[in-house]
C-alpha cells in the first residue's frame, strides 16, 4: 500500500489498481523509433523515462476519444466539461443517448470497496453491460448505493443545446468560465443559464429562461 494525496484527500493506493479502460490518459513514452503510446494510469515508470503528454498525436487521439465517449452519452455534464476543456466543439458521430459509458467504476466500487461483488460486466463487445447475475435482484446487494455515488452519469444533465453533433461549450464562453469557477463540481444551478449560448434553444429544462447577454 502506498499513501498518496488526490485533490487534497489522503488515500491509500494499491499498486496496479487502475483499470485502463477509458484510455484518455494516453501519453507517448520513449524517443525516436521506440516512441510509443501508452496509458499513463498503468504504465510502470522507470528511471530516465521520457514522457510526452502534449504531442499533436496525443491531443488528436484524446479529442477523438472524448468525441466517441460523448457520442455515447451526450448529456453528461462531466463529459461535456471534459470536452470543453479540450476544445472539442463538435461531435461528428451519431448520438446514442446511452446512460452508461461502461467505465466500470461501479463494478470496482462494489467489488473492491464494498466487498459485495453484487454487480459485474455481462456480455461482450457491443452487448457489454453492467448487471447483477442473470439480471435478477440478489441478496449480496445491500442497496448501499455506492455504485450510484461513484457513477459519473448520475448527475444533473447538461442543459446546453442537445442538437446532434453540436456542443455549445457555453460554460467556456462566459468569463470567468463556469469550469474555472466550479472546477470539477457539477452544475446544479438550474436557473442560472449563464452557460447557454445566446440564441440557442436550451433543450433540457423548460422552466429555464435564457439570459440575455
Amino acid at each position: 500500500m502506498l499513501n498518496i494525496t488526490i485533490n487534497g484527500a489522503e488515500v491509500k493506493a494499491q499498486e496496479g489498481a487502475t483499470y485502463g479502460a477509458c484510455r484518455l490518459c494516453i501519453v507517448e513514452v520513449g524517443e525516436g523509433n521506440r516512441r510509443r503510446v501508452v496509458t499513463s494510469c498503468n504504465y510502470p515508470i522507470e528511471e530516465g523515462l521520457s514522457v510526452h503528454t502534449d504531442t499533436k498525436k496525443i491531443i488528436g487521439h484524446r479529442k477523438l476519444l472524448i468525441e466517441l465517449i460523448l457520442s455515447r452519452a451526450p448529456n453528461s455534464k462531466t463529459l461535456q466539461d471534459l470536452a470543453s476543456r479540450y476544445g472539442v466543439e463538435k461531435v461528428r458521430f451519431k448520438n446514442k443517448n446511452d446512460d452508461c459509458i461502461l467505465c466500470g467504476l461501479c463494478v470496482r466500487m462494489c467489488n473492491e470497496q464494498m466487498q459485495s461483488k453484487a454487480i459485474g460486466f455481462v456480455g461482450r463487445g457491443k452487448n457489454l453491460k453492467v448487471s447483477t447475475p442473470f439480471a435478477k435482484a440478489n441478496e449480496v446487494c445491500r442497496n448501499c448505493g455506492a455504485c450510484m455515488y461513484i457513477c459519473p452519469m448520475v448527475e444533473v444533465q447538461c442543459r446546453g443545446p442537445q442538437t446532434t453533433g453540436d456542443l455549445c461549450n457555453g460554460c467556456l464562453r462566459v468569463t470567468p468560465t463556469c469550469v474555472d469557477v466550479y472546477d470539477r463540481q457539477m452544475c446544479y444551478v438550474e436557473d442560472c443559464g449563464t452557460c447557454v449560448r445566446p440564441g440557442s434553444q436550451p433543450a433540457g429544462g423548460k422552466s429555464r429562461k435564457q439570459k440575455k447577454s
Binding site: 484510455r23 504504465y43 457520442s71 458521430f93 459509458i101 461482450r124 463487445g125 457489454l128
Partner: protein
C-alpha cells in the same frame, strides 16, 4: 502399456514400434472435423462393417487419421504403402475399393483426383498439384497417425526429441538451439520463441507455467484444430521440451469448446503420455517433472489474446490487461507464464530432432521454417496448406490453390484473419513472411487466408469484419468498443448510399487512433481490414460514396437488376421464380423487371440461361 522408468528403456520401447513392419496394405481414412462434415464417419462405418465380416475377404489394416489438408475432396481414402489417393469416397465405394484395389491391386478410376488444368488423373497424393509445392513438415504426420494411438506417433520417431533433451542437454543450450533455428511464434505476432523462453526462464518466481494457445477463433481458419485433432502428441512433446528449457512443472492447453474432437484427442493423448511416464512426476526416470491440464474456453475470439486467455484460465472474464509488464514475468495468477501457439509448439520437436542448422535453411532471412495456412474462400482447392516461408502468394493461390473457380477474376486475399489486411493482385508476388506482410499493412496472423474474386465488394467485406470484431471485442476499452461501433455505422452508411466524401477522412482518423490507443492487440489491429481495403481499393469506396454504385454488385441498396432486351428469349423462367412477381412480359418476348417491386434477391440472375440479366 507400462510406465517407462528410464531413458534406455524408452529407447528400446520406441525402437520396437519404429521397427515394426506391416505386410498388409493399410486403408487410411481422413476424419478430422472437416472430414466428418463431408461424411467420413459413414465411410469408416462401411469399412468397419467389412472388417467385422467373417469368411473370405482381402486382408488389410485400417487406420483413421486426422485431416489430410485437402478438405475440398474429403473424405479421402489412401491405400498405403502404394500411396493411392482416392477422393470424395462414399460408403457405396467401399466394397469396390476393398475388392478391386486391395484384393486385386487394380485402381478404381473414378475415385482418382483429376487435375482440372491438364485433365490428367493423379494416382498418388504427391502427384496432385495441391500437394506438389507444399512442404509437409508439421502437418504431414497427420496422414500417418491415428491420434488415439500413441504407438503411431512413437513409430514415426515420436518423443525421441524429448528423450534426446532429457539425456542431459542444458536448458540454456536448448534455448540457444531454438534461437539458432529462428523459430518465431505462429500465433500472430511473430515474436521470437527463444526470447520468450529466456525471459520466462530468467523471471523471478518458483512456480511458472507454459501454456499452449489453441483458442483459434478467426473465421475460416482451422490450422490449430487440425493439428490438435490429427497429431496431439507432437504438441505435447513440444510443450514438455519447452517446459524443460524454461524450468516449469505445470502447463495448460487452452482450447475452445467448439473443438470437441480436438479436446477429446488431446485428453486421450495426455492420458496415454501419463501412463507411459512421458508426463507427470520424474519423466522417463529423470528428475524432471511436468504435467499438463486442459482449460476449455467458451469460444470468445478475444480469449486468443494472451492476457485475456490467462484471465479466462483463472476463471475470470476473458478481458485483456495492459502488457507493460510482460506475461513472461507476470502472467497466469501473476506468475511467470510462457504462452505459445499450437503450431509453434509442434515445431519444437522437429527443431530438436533435425537440428537448428537444418531448420534455419528453410524459409527467408527473417522467418524460418514452414507455415500452415488455411486456404479458403473463392478458391478451387479449399484446404490446409503447409508451405515454406518466403513462397509467394501467387504460388499459394494459383499453383496450390488452383486459382479462382468458375473462371472468375482474382481480386484480393485477406491474410491474418479479421485483424489482418486485404492484399490486391499487384502484391501477389510478395513473399510470405512475417516482416514483408506487415510492411504492406497486413500480417501473418495465425494463418487464415481468405481469397476473394471479382464478385466480392470490399466495402461490404470491411463491414463484415467490423461487425465480427465489434461482436468479439471484450468491450472494455473505449477506442475498441466505441471506435468499432462508429466505424461500422459509417461503413454501413456507405454501403446503403448514404456515405459522404468526408467519411473517408474520419474513418482514417478513428482507425489511426484505435491502432495507437487500444488496450490490446485485438483493438490495435481491428481497423486493419478497413484501412487496408481503403488503401488498396480506394476506387471502390469512392464509387460507393460519389457515384452511389457498388462495382461488385453486392450492396443491395446501390444495385439494380435489369434485363438486356436483345439477350432475353422470353422463356419466363425468371418470372416464375421471382418471389415478388416483379418480372413481366409476353411469352417469347423480352421481359422486364419492375424496379419498385424488385427486392434484389438475385434469383432471376442465377436462373437465366442466356445471361440476359445484368446488375447495374
Amino acid at each position: 502399456m507400462k510406465k517407462i522408468h528410464s531413458l534406455a528403456e524408452f529407447s528400446r520401447f520406441q525402437k520396437t514400434w519404429s521397427a515394426r513392419k506391416n505386410g498388409d496394405p493399410t486403408v487410411v481414412v481422413s476424419s478430422g472435423t472437416c472430414g466428418h462434415a463431408r461424411g467420413s464417419e459413414d465411410v469408416i462405418i462401411a469399412f468397419e462393417k467389412v472388417l467385422s465380416r467373417r469368411g473370405k475377404r482381402p486382408q488389410f489394416d485400417f487406420k483413421v487419421t486426422g485431416c489430410h489438408g485437402f478438405c475440398e475432396v474429403e473424405p479421402i481414402v489412401r491405400i498405403e504403402p502404394r500411396g493411392i489417393f482416392y477422393q470424395r469416397v462414399t460408403p457405396a465405394d467401399v466394397e469396390e475399393i476393398i475388392s478391386e484395389t486391395i484384393g486385386e491391386g487394380k485402381i478404381v478410376d473414378r475415385l482418382l483426383f483429376r487435375d482440372p488444368v491438364t485433365g490428367e488423373k493423379c494416382l498418388h497424393g504427391k502427384d496432385i498439384p495441391f500437394y506438389r509445392k507444399q512442404k509437409l513438415l508439421i502437418s504431414g504426420n497427420n496422414m500417418r497417425i491415428n491420434p488415439a494411438h500413441i504407438e503411431d506417433y512413437l513409430a514415426l520417431g515420436g518423443y525421441t526429441a524429448l528423450a534426446k533433451v532429457l539425456k542431459g542437454v542444458k536448458p540454456e543450450r536448448l534455448i540457444d538451439e531454438v534461437k539458432k533455428a529462428g523459430l518465431r511464434g505462429r500465433g500472430g505476432g511473430g515474436f521470437f520463441a527463444w526470447k520468450k523462453w529466456e525471459s520466462c526462464r530468467n523471471a523471478h518466481g518458483k512456480i511458472k507455467y507454459v501454456i499452449c494457445n489453441a483458442d483459434e477463433g478467426d473465421p475460416g481458419a482451422y490450422m490449430d484444430r487440425s493439428l490438435l485433432e490429427g497429431n496431439p502428441h507432437s504438441i505435447l512433446e513440444g510443450m514438455i521440451i519447452g517446459a524443460y528449457a524454461i524450468g516449469v512443472s505445470e502447463g495448460y492447453i487452452y482450447v475452445r469448446r467448439e473443438y470437441p474432437l480436438a479436446i477429446q484427442n488431446v485428453e486421450t493423448a495426455i492420458e496415454q503420455a501419463r501412463r507411459l511416464g512421458l508426463l507427470g512426476k520424474d519423466i522417463l526416470g529423470t528428475k524432471f517433472s511436468f504435467d499438463v491440464k486442459i482449460a476449455i474456453g467458451g469460444g470468445a475470439f478475444v480469449c486468443g489474446e494472451s492476457t485475456a486467455l490467462m484471465s479466462s484460465i483463472e476463471g475470470k472474464r476473458g478481458e485483456p490487461r495492459a502488457k507493460y509488464v510482460h506475461t513472461v514475468e507476470k502472467g497466469l495468477w501473476n506468475r511467470p507464464s510462457n504462452l505459445n501457439n499450437v503450431e509453434t509448439w509442434a515445431n519444437v520437436p522437429l527443431i530438436i530432432n533435425k537440428g537448428a542448422k537444418w531448420y534455419s535453411r528453410i524459409g527467408t532471412a527473417g522467418s524460418k521454417g514452414t507455415k500452415i495456412f488455411s486456404l479458403v474462400g473463392k478458391i478451387q482447392n479449399t484446404g490446409l496448406v503447409e508451405v515454406p516461408m518466403g513462397i509467394t502468394l501467387r504460388e499459394i493461390i494459383f499453383d496450390i490453390g488452383g486459382g479462382i473457380p468458375d473462371g472468375k477474376k482474382f481480386k484480393a486475399v485477406q491474410t491474418g484473419g479479421p485483424s489482418g489486411g486485404c492484399l490486391p493482385e499487384s502484391l501477389l508476388d510478395l513473399p510470405v513472411d512475417f516482416d514483408r506482410l506487415s510492411e504492406v499493412g497486413s500480417m501473418m496472423g495465425s494463418g487464415g487466408m481468405i481469397v476473394m474474386d471479382e464478385t466480392t465488394c470490399m466495402v461490404d467485406l470491411a463491414k463484415y469484419f467490423l461487425n465480427f470484431l465489434l461482436d468479439e471485442s471484450c468491450g472494455m476499452c473505449f477506442p475498441c468498443r466505441e471506435g468499432l461501433d462508429q466505424l461500422l455505422t459509417i461503413v454501413t452508411a456507405i454501403t446503403v448510399g448514404k456515405g459522404k466524401p468526408e467519411d473517408l477522412q474520419l474513418l482514417q482518423e478513428i482507425g489511426g487512433m484505435m491502432k495507437d490507443a487500444s488496450l490490446c492487440a485485438l483493438g490495435r489491429t481491428a481497423p486493419n481490414p478497413l484501412l487496408s481495403t481503403m488503401r488498396y481499393f480506394q476506387d471502390e469506396y469512392e464509387a460507393h460514396i460519389l457515384k452511389k454504385k457498388c462495382p461488385a454488385g453486392v450492396c443491395k441498396a446501390l444495385i439494380c437488376y435489369e434485363i438486356w432486351k436483345d439477350k432475353c428469349a422470353g422463356c419466363a423462367a425468371c418470372a416464375k421464380l421471382c418471389p415478388e412477381k416483379a418480372i413481366s412480359g409476353a411469352k417469347n418476348r423480352p421481359h422486364e423487371i419492375d424496379p419498385a417491386k424488385c427486392i434484389k434477391c438475385g434469383i432471376c440472375k442465377d436462373t437465366c440461361q442466356y445471361g440476359a440479366i445484368q446488375v447495374i
